[in-house]
Symmetry: C2
Subunit: 333 residues, 2 copies
């Protein structure tokens, strides 16, 4: 009942040219092996028909798709769009197509997405997380494709990892706040993913080391500017003497800063505020927001580079690559 016309195939091109499909195939990979006259006819017919080669047979025959799966936690995170840009700077010239998926910071959805991507026979996989379900690990083991876990530095990576030490970064920032005389620093945490937890470790370590009490305000809600305002209020209620906020990201930090200013507080005189990732919003604020600068673009590039190297069968020297971080102190400390 479905008499939908099929898209033109290599055979259709061959028929019109008056040759076998093998000649068309050959022309596409090594045009110099085809007689110039034939080649000319082929180009013409392909344009006429709007022929687009199918990658599907290659997937079937060689288990190779020239596609790389990339799983991002969200589709509206500037950090990960920078990672994606870094990835494509490497993969595009190398002739790979990227299949993106997102999983909303949810291990189970990550698992489903990986299953989907594997059913498309991807040649390699870039993940934005270092925590996975059992079944994810099993699937990746069986699929036997190169994998790079981005962002963190897992003790035992699936295959390779490229990232930075989030606990150390948090530690450094909180230490800088303490050095400026802040004593009642509260950690504002949202969307309790693993990186948020790592930052909590760094925060706790810095505070404990300075003999200061740890005060954490957290929620599972996802980060927004408004949430930053809410968390500020909660912090002030729980810790009236609060004089510093270390926020798990810049959205929370910016929201808290704007809300504090709306209350009439002077930043940083009355309250120090720091975020993570050094996004553009921090530069638009007055004072500029202190934040941790993360090498996200380079994480994307290095991850893609190392993934493609492994796809090509090269050995890896070191399984985990630490790309470090820097502090931007701005004017809010």
């Amino acid at each position: 009942m479905n008499d939908k016309p099929r898209r033109p195939s290599m055979q259709d091109v061959a028929d019109r040219v008056g040759t076998s499909k093998m000649t068309i195939s050959r022309y596409l990979r090594s045009p110099e092996l085809v007689a110039p006259a034939t080649a000319a006819r082929i180009t013409q017919v392909m344009a006429e028909l709007g022929y687009i080669p199918s990658r599907v047979p290659e997937m079937l025959a060689n288990d190779r798709s020239r596609a790389i799966g990339v799983l991002l936690p969200s589709m509206s995170n500037q950090v990960f769009s920078a990672v994606a840009q870094g990835i494509e700077e490497i993969t595009f010239p190398a002739g790979y197509h990227i299949l993106y998926g997102h999983y909303g910071y949810d291990m189970l959805r990550e698992e489903q997405q990986i299953e989907q991507l594997l059913s498309f026979h991807i040649d390699g996989l870039l993940l934005s997380e270092s925590q996975h379900t059992e079944r994810t690990l099993k699937m990746l083991e069986v699929a036997n494709i190169p994998v790079v876990e981005m962002m963190e530095l897992p003790a035992r990576p699936i295959d390779q990892a490229v990232g930075l030490d989030h606990a150390a970064a948090a530690y450094a920032m909180v230490e800088a706040m303490i050095a400026r005389g802040r004593r009642h620093i509260v950690y504002l945490a949202a969307r309790l993913d693993y990186r948020t937890q790592l930052r909590e470790q760094g925060y706790r370590q810095a505070m404990t080391q300075a003999n200061l009490p740890c005060q954490i305000v957290q929620t599972n809600a996802s980060s927004t500017f408004s949430l930053g305002a809410q968390l500020l209020t909660q912090a002030q209620r729980g810790v009236p003497e609060v004089d510093g906020l270390f926020c798990t990201n810049d959205d929370i930090a910016a929201g808290a800063l704007l809300a504090a200013q709306a209350q009439g507080l002077q930043i940083p005189r009355d309250l120090s505020i720091a975020g993570v990732n050094h996004l553009d919003i921090g530069l638009a604020l007055q004072p500029q927001l202190a934040s941790i600068m993360t090498p996200r673009h380079e994480i994307g590039r290095q991850s893609a580079q190392r993934l493609i190297a492994r796809i090509n069968g090269e050995q890896i020297d070191q399984a985990v690559l630490d790309l470090g971080f820097e502090l931007f102190l701005g004017g809010s400390l």
Copy 2:
């Protein structure tokens, strides 16, 4: 030379179970047709091997992938992540996998991405733009798959369109500013995509109708908060008496608002500011940012619904669906 072990196939499962692969295939589609004992063995072996079915043969045999391509302009735009969420609310229960691509607001990259997606035999395509290259149109015609153009209301859609009237929305907002006594309203435009141009039309129409001069400050740079600050400065230089800013999006508007406040200006007393999309940042500002509320989530849902209907061979009643908009006046007018 490449003795990489292949991923387990249906045949591998069959061998271990001691049956033919047909029985495995049958078990996967209609378990009730397989003897319970056999079924039990199959489940067990599939788990042992970590078997994941390949969609590739189906693509080859039936030209059907159960995958839908979605092209977004960027991977860090909250508007489009809401669209994507709306899409998946429909496609996930319907059993479709989404293949995302992004094209950086560039028609040529859109063309390349479409070619890639078609090579994966997608069953349908959702686009975020209504302007395309000639070759894109040709490819889509030949591919003969359903297409929905999201966001705008093209006069002659490729197939179907779901969106809103951006010119009318801009007109309404500028009219509201004029009604509040603003006379020197400048349009701040960044990333000169088609929607930015449509908004310019609306702006011009409202200003002309009120016998006011049109003043436009534009740049091809992509929107950031800092850019909003820069464009404000440019506007002030070009139009010293400026008393209103209509901005092509909330990022620009928020950046301009913060910069204006840093200059000591009172919003809205000295300057009215409005944006587009009603993002969370606008609610965190003081005063809250006037903005155009766009039904992006619903655009995603409706687009997906209508695409799947067409994939299933249903007829379309109306080719273009207008989902409207509302104004949020906030406190910045």
